[in-house]
Subunit: 137 residues, 4 copies
C-alpha cells in the first residue's frame, strides 16, 4: 500500500507565475520516501547514522497541472524497483480532493557508505524493503 504524505503548499514555494515552482516538488518527493521508510519502521536519520545513505542518482518529474498556495498536497510514494545496489521510488503528487495526479515522478538511488562508496544494502533492510515492495505491486 502506498504511503501518503500530506502538507500545505508553502507561500515560499510559489513563483511569479502564481503557481508552485517546479523545483519545490523535489523536497516533497524526498519527504515522501522518508515517510515511506518511516511507515516501514525505518528512520532515514538513523539509517545514515548507521552508515547507509541513499543519494539520488536519477530524478524524473512530469508536471500535469499547476498547484497553488492554499492547496493541500498529498504525495503518494511506493518503492517500484529494488536490487541490492539500487532503489527506485515512484511518486504521485495530488492536490487534495483531486482524482488525477498533479505530477508524477521517480527517483533512483544507489546505496552508499559515509565515504560515498557504493555499498550493498544491509541484508535485513533489503529483506524488509523487498517484502514491502512486493506488497505494493
Amino acid at each position: 500500500m502506498p504511503v501518503i504524505s500530506r502538507f500545505p503548499v508553502r507561500y515560499a514555494e510559489t513563483d511569479q507565475m502564481g503557481v508552485v515552482h517546479h523545483a519545490a516538488y523535489v523536497p516533497w518527493l524526498e519527504q515522501g520516501r522518508v515517510d515511506w521508510l518511516a511507515e516501514l519502521g525505518v528512520s532515514y536519520a538513523e539509517l545514515e547514522r548507521s552508515g547507509v545513505y541513499f543519494p539520488v542518482v536519477g530524478l524524473e518529474l512530469a508536471y500535469r497541472r499547476a498547484l497553488r498556495f492554499g492547496d493541500t498536497v498529498g504525495v503518494e510514494t511506493r518503492l517500484s524497483e529494488l536490487a541490492s545496489r539500487l532503489l527506485v521510488f515512484a511518486y504521485r503528487v495530488f492536490r487534495e480532493g483531486d482524482a488525477e495526479p498533479a505530477a508524477t515522478g521517480r527517483s533512483v538511488h544507489v546505496p552508499q557508505d559515509a565515504a560515498g562508496r557504493v555499498r550493498r544494502l544491509p541484508e535485513d533492510l533489503y529483506e524488509r524493503l523487498k517484502a514491502a515492495a512486493e506488497r505494493e505491486t
Copy 2:
C-alpha cells in the same frame, strides 16, 4: 554553440551529506536556459511581460558525481528540440576544471499565455529559436 552559466556553489545548497543537495540543481538549469535565451537577445522577463510563458512540464536529471561548497559550477545549456508548442533544453553541469559532467539534465516546456493556456510561440521568436537550435546541432 552552447551557452555556459557560471556561479559558485552556495553554502545553503549543501545538505548534511556534505555535498550539494539534488534539488539545488533545478534552479541552476533554469538559470542556464535564462542565460541561453539572453545570449540570443531574448529576455525571459520581457517574454513573460509580453504574455509568453515557458512552464516546465517535464524534468530529468542524472547525477554522476557530487558537487561541493567551494566548487564553481558551469551549466552548459542548449536547445535540443523545438516545435511550435514544445521546447526541450538539454544541460550539462560541470565542476570547473573537470572534463566530465557532474550531472546532465533535460527540461521540457510548453509555451503558455498568462491564463495558463497552451499557445504557439510567436513566429519571429520561433524562427530565432530554430536558427539557434540548428547552430547547436
Copy 3:
C-alpha cells in the same frame, strides 16, 4: 492563545554543518503566520485575492540551538503588535519535546494592495486581528 504549526525537518533543509540551515527557518515562520490567520478563520490565499497583501518589511531571528533532520519542529506564532498599517508577528520555534525554544523571531508587515501601495487593513479584518491579539497578551 498562540497557534502551533508542526512539521518534520526536511532533509533538503539541512546543510553541510549537519544541522538545519538558518535560511530554512524563514518559510517556517511564514507557515506559522498563515496557520495563525487560518485559526482565526482568515485564509491568506483569499486575503490576497481580495487585494490585501502582507509583505515582510522586517525580519529578525535568534538561533539558540541547532535543529536536525529527524526532529519535529513546532512553530508557536502570535500577533504581537497591530496598527491599521502595521502587523508584527512573534515566533518561538521548538524542537518537539524541548521546553526551551531552538529559535525566536519576529516579522514586521505593512499591508499593501496588489499594486504594492501601502493600504489600511479592512476594518472588519482589523477588528478580528485586534481581538485575537488581545486574547494573546
Copy 4:
C-alpha cells in the same frame, strides 16, 4: 572597502506577489560574507576543514523596495564588529543601478569547532579580520 557580490535574481527566488521572496535574501547575505572572506584570502570551505565554523546566531533584515526577476543584485558586505568569539557582518543589497539599497541586513556569528562548541578565532585569522574591519570603518 566593502566587497560586492553580484548575481542575477533567479526565477525560483520569486513568489506569487511577483517579487523576490524575502527568504531568498538570506543565502545572498551568506554569499556576501563568503566573498568578503575570499577577498581577504580566506576560503570559508577551507576554514571549515580546519575546524572553524561561523554558524549564524542572529539575523536581521529590513526590506525597503522589492526586487524582481530580471534585476541584477549587488550585495555589499563588511565586517562591522569583531571580538575573539563574535563576528557581525553588515550588508546592503542593491538593485544594480540604484543608489538606495533595496534591503539592509546584519548577521551575528559565534565561532565554533566541528563538535559545535564555541571556540576562539585562531589568532592569525583574528588579526587579519581585525585589520580588514579597521580598513572598512
